[in-house]
Assembly symmetry: C2
Homo-oligomer: 212 residues x 2
C-alpha cells in the first residue's frame, strides 16, 4: 500500500504543526483530541493508527487508552468535538442578538468564503468521517444530528429574513455548500471556487415578503 506518508514524515509534521501550535502544556486528553483532529482530518480515520495519534499528542498509547476506551470511542469524541465547534460557530454567526438576518447571512457567507479558500482544505471533516465509517458506527448519529441542525439554522435565518420559501432555499444552499466542499478534493476547484458568488446572487434573486 502507498501510505504516501512515511511514519517519520508524520512525526515531523507533528513537531512543527502541533507543538509550535498550542498543545504545549495541556492535559493529555486535550492533546490527544488535538492530535486526532489533525491526523484524522488530514489522512482519514482508518489510515491513522492510535499509536500515531498518541505520539503526535506527545504521549503514548497507554495514556490514550486511559482516556478513551477504544479507537472507536476516540473517533466518536473526535466527531463530537468537531460538531460542537461547528455548532458554536453557527451560533456566533447566526445566533440571536447580532444584527439583522441579512447581516447574519452576509457574515455567514464571508465565513463560507474563508473555509473554502483555506488551503489544505480536505472537505468537511464530518462528511469525510461519514464516508469512512460504515452505517452502524456510533459516530454516524452525531454527524447526522449536526447536519440536520445546520440545515435547521439555515431555515430559521431564511425565515427571519422573510424569504418566501425558506425551506427550499435552505435545501439549495445546503446542497451547494456540501457539494463545494466535496468537490474541492476531487472535482477540481472550478465549480467550488465560484460558490460564494453563486450564493450571493442566489440570495439576492430569491423572492422575499415585505422587504421593508
Amino acid at each position: 500500500m502507498s501510505t504516501a506518508l512515511d511514519k517519520d514524515l508524520r512525526n515531523f509534521s507533528k513537531l512543527r504543526s502541533e507543538i509550535s501550535g498550542s498543545l504545549a502544556e495541556k492535559p493529555p486528553r486535550e492533546r490527544i483530541l488535538l492530535a486526532a483532529r489533525e491526523l484524522f482530518y488530514r489522512f482519514g480515520v482508518h489510515t491513522v493508527g492510535v499509536e500515531a495519534v498518541a505520539e503526535t499528542a506527545l504521549t503514548n498509547k497507554m495514556t490514550l487508552y486511559r482516556h478513551f476506551r477504544s479507537k472507536d470511542d476516540l473517533i466518536v469524541a473526535y466527531v463530537e468535538q468537531l460538531a460542537g465547534e461547528n455548532v458554536a460557530t453557527l451560533d456566533r454567526l447566526l445566533g440571536e442578538g447580532l444584527g439583522t438576518p441579512q447581516q447574519k447571512l452576509a457574515a455567514w457567507i464571508d465565513h463560507v468564503e474563508d473555509v473554502l479558500s483555506n488551503k489544505s482544505e480536505r472537505g468537511c471533516a464530518l462528511a469525510n468521517a461519514a464516508v469512512e465509517l460504515d452505517a452502524g458506527h456510533p459516530a454516524r448519529g452525531v454527524i447526522e444530528d449536526y447536519k440536520r441542525r445546520k440545515h435547521d439554522r439555515l431555515v430559521n435565518v431564511f425565515r427571519a429574513a422573510r424569504y418566501r420559501e425558506p425551506e427550499r432555499l435552505a435545501d439549495e444552499v445546503f446542497l451547494l455548500f456540501e457539494g463545494a466542499r466535496i468537490s474541492l478534493q476531487c472535482g477540481g476547484s472550478g465549480p467550488a471556487s465560484r460558490l460564494v458568488a453563486m450564493l450571493r446572487s442566489l440570495l439576492a434573486a430569491s423572492p422575499r415578503d415585505d422587504a421593508r
Copy 2:
C-alpha cells in the same frame, strides 16, 4: 475496531449478491473487478482487504496478484472502471443524435432521480474513494479527470439548450448533485430528496436565448 461486518457476513453477502448476479463464469480478472466494485463501494477501499476481494470473486489472493501488481493497482483499476462506465452513461444520455437538448436534459434528470432514489446508495463511489485516498495516490488523477469531464458535458448541453449562462448553470447543477450524493449518507435524506424538483425548477427558471 468495530468492523460491523464480520468476515462471515461478508462472505454471505458475496454468495447472495454476487453469484446470483452475473459473475457466474467470467474470466478471473472480471470477477475480481466486480467483487472490488461491490466491496470497495460498500465498505471503503481501506477497510476491505485483498483477500476479501479475492474470495468474493470466487478466487484467491495469488490469482488476484497475477492480474494486479498491488492493491493500489487494483484501486486504480476499480476507479477507472467506474469512471469509464459513468462517462459511457453520460454519453448515452447526453450524446449527439438523441433528441433535442431539452430532451437530453430531461433524460439526465430522470437518471439522477434513479440514482438518488436507489436504496443502498452510499454516495458517489468516486468521491468516496477520493476522500479515502491521500493526495499522492494515482487514482486521484482519474477521479479528477472524470469530474472535470462530467462538468464539461453539462456545460455543453446547457449551451446547446441555449441557456444564457451555461457555465454558471453547470456549476450550480454540478454542486447541487454532488452535495445531494454526499448528503445522502450523512445529512439525512431531507435536502437530497428534494434535489430533483430543485433541478427541474432551476432549469425552467433559468433564462435562455431565443427559446425556439
